[in-house]
């Protein structure tokens, strides 16, 4: 991802009200991490496992933050338990910012990622988590704002899967 795109992504998160981000880094969107870390209006929390990325972000949401979880799509599988129990069953809105490896629009797709990518969306659907694939930067800020509004309205996680231009 170009640095300019990373800046827009972080600006888009801020404009949508995101002020708390938990993360386990991955390859496609990782340029956003130092930008969030250096922003005094945002709290960045490093975790060891995507499952706790979800539970910590959920706790922050209940405490009044507007939280996002940044993860690779492999993290969907790892965090599925807490996405379902805390996210869906308890009903806590979270924005999931996901590097979408191995999907058709992933410009760095290979045999390493394709199986992971193929099952990501069916797994989200199986949990009743709505999503959008973001392939280009057109109206990026608007898409993020819409996703946060949807998460808050649904009282549930909402996933943005970044590929295409974001995976170059």
């Amino acid at each position: 991802m170009k640095d300019e795109l990373a800046k827009r992504l972080v600006q888009g998160l801020k404009q949508a009200g995101i002020d708390f981000v938990t993360y386990l880094p991955e390859t496609r969107l990782s340029q956003i991490i130092p930008l969030i870390r250096d922003d005094p209006e945002m709290t960045l929390v490093a975790v060891s496992n995507e499952q706790e990325a979800v539970t910590i972000a959920a706790g922050a949401t209940l405490g009044g933050k507007q939280a996002a979880v940044y993860m690779e799509n492999t993290g969907i599988y790892v965090s599925s338990y807490s996405l379902l129990t805390v996210g869906r069953q308890l009903g806590v809105p979270l924005l999931l910012v996901i590097g979408y490896l191995g999907g058709v629009p992933d410009q760095r797709n290979s045999f390493l990622y394709a199986t992971i990518g193929k099952h990501s969306i069916p797994v989200l659907q199986g949990m009743g988590i709505d999503h959008q694939i973001v392939e280009d930067s057109n109206n990026l800020e608007g898409k993020i704002k819409d996703a946060v509004r949807a998460a808050n309205s649904l009282r549930a996680p909402y996933a943005l899967l970044f590929a295409g231009e974001f995976s170059v």
Binding site: F20, S48, I56, A58, L62, Q89, L90
Partner: protein
């Protein structure tokens, strides 16, 4: 020492702390002992410490208590290094370690009935103020005092298995009801708006 005795002592100390419970008999016992609106009775194993950590980070001026069990902590060991590095000063974790999966009804042993020492694991993960508590006097003198201190604390309370939670009424509030009571309580006491709650 049984868990219920510890929870009775803890309940007497609750004022405006936020209390997050895991899923186990303690959830039933705590809801019986405490009607505090700042209780969040998370109904799943392996999630309480994470949710409590998020609350502690979001509200650093507010004391947050996590009530957990050995089975639940073993399911979410990744919380330990995260806590060891974050060191939220306003978080106190009580792990009631009875050495069995009591909810399974056959009480098969957890790893802590064998060679596993959760306090040693927490210490190794970077949580400095961690201690194993073995009797009620120690619980009073050591574990409860942490509520007035400004330091992350992690107590592994070795308790005998007790079936008290099967003799008392189960909580009749559902998860959503409890969540909204909790966030409305936070809105009132923090004088702030929790962004997602119902404004139609």
């Amino acid at each position: 020492m049984i868990r219920y005795e510890c929870l009775e002592l803890l309940a007497s100390k609750i004022t405006d702390q936020l209390v997050v419970t895991s899923q186990s008999g303690q959830r039933i016992e705590w809801s019986h002992l405490s009607r505090h609106e700042g209780n969040l009775l998370v109904g799943m194993m392996g999630c309480a410490i994470g949710v409590a950590t998020g609350l502690a980070l979001a509200l650093p001026h507010r004391k947050v208590i996590a009530l957990d069990s050995d089975g639940s902590v073993l399911l979410s060991l990744f919380n330990l290094p995260t806590l060891g590095n974050l060191q939220p000063k306003n978080l106190v974790v009580y792990v009631f370690d009875n050495g069995v999966y009591s909810g399974s009804r056959i009480s098969y042993p957890t790893a802590t009935a064998g060679n596993t020492d959760l306090a040693a694991m927490a210490r190794g993960a970077g949580i400095k103020n961690t201690r194993t508590i073995r009797d009620l006097e120690e619980f009073k003198d050591g574990a409860l005092k942490a509520l007035t201190q400004n330091e992350l604390a992690f107590f592994v309370c070795k308790v005998e298995e007790s079936l008290m939670h099967r003799e008392i009424p189960r909580p009749n509030t559902d998860l959503a009801e409890n969540k909204y009571t909790f966030v409305r309580y936070l809105e009132r006491t923090e004088e702030k708006t929790i962004r997602f709650v119902g404004r139609g």
